[in-house]
């Protein structure tokens, strides 16, 4: 029988994995994945507490809203990463153009 402690353990491990990724990774996209893990650990907590210990819906609503917020946040973050990539590439292209000219 899966009970509240199981969920909490999984969520704590997820959170730890997320923190580990954020601290050790150098790649921006991997960093964002780490953040996602942390957010989802919290969402799992909310849903589990809401189901097992309080029998109220507010935790699940919180989890839903935070999923949507996290998606929006990641979209903004990825747009910024794309923009950085584009800037760097543009700089390289300019340099190549100078050499040729």
């Amino acid at each position: 029988m899966v009970q509240l402690p199981h969920f909490l353990t999984v969520s704590a491990l997820l959170f730890a994995a997320g923190v580990f990724a954020v601290v050790t990774r150098r790649n921006a996209v991997a960093l964002l994945m780490g953040v996602e893990l942390m957010l989802n650990a919290a969402n799992l907590n909310f849903a589990a507490f809401s189901r097992f210990s309080h029998n109220a819906l507010d935790g699940q609503i919180f989890a839903m809203l935070s999923i949507v917020t996290a998606a929006a946040e990641v979209a903004v973050a990825l747009a910024i990463v794309l923009n950085i990539y584009r800037n760097i590439e543009t700089i390289d292209a300019d340099r190549a153009g100078d050499l040729r000219g």
């Binding site: 730890a16 839903m64 929006a72 584009r86």
Partner: protein
């Protein structure tokens, strides 16, 4: 008074120790004989050519981003659809307002040319939004 901060300290120490132990155990038991062949990409027995890290067209990421934003909003539609009958007109109009706001965002993306694969200028190159000035 500081007792509970002490508990936080224990928590921190434990997590650091945990990571160190896991790494230590795997370092003890794993064999280490690296060779160049191990680093090549596995392609169903074929001899691989080129790197596995190829460059995708930036367009894919843009479309994915736009998709992500609009798709996630469906999360709100499911619970709404379940209780729509019991709540009635109030819930209906609430969702209409929500969708109208989303629609403005959609119109914005459309008008700025992010939905077309080829840019309005016809260059067919990667980016419309990110073309700047």
């Amino acid at each position: 008074m500081y007792l509970h901060f002490g508990a936080v300290l224990v928590f921190l120490l434990f997590s650091v120790a945990f990571v160190a132990i896991i790494y230590g155990i795997s370092a003890l038991f794993r064999p280490a004989n690296p060779s160049a062949e191990k680093l090549t990409t596995y392609e169903c027995g074929e001899i691989p050519f080129g790197g596995s890290w190829i460059q995708f067209n930036l367009r894919y990421y843009l479309i994915a981003l736009v998709f992500l934003i609009f798709e996630v909003e469906v999360v709100f539609l499911y619970p709404w659809a379940v209780v729509l009958r019991t709540i009635g007109a109030f819930a209906f109009w609430e969702m209409i307002v929500f969708l109208a706001i989303l629609l403005v965002g959609f119109a914005y993306v459309w008008r700025k040319g992010d939905l077309s694969w080829f840019t309005p200028s016809g260059s067919g190159h990667t980016d419309a939004t990110f073309s700047g000035k």
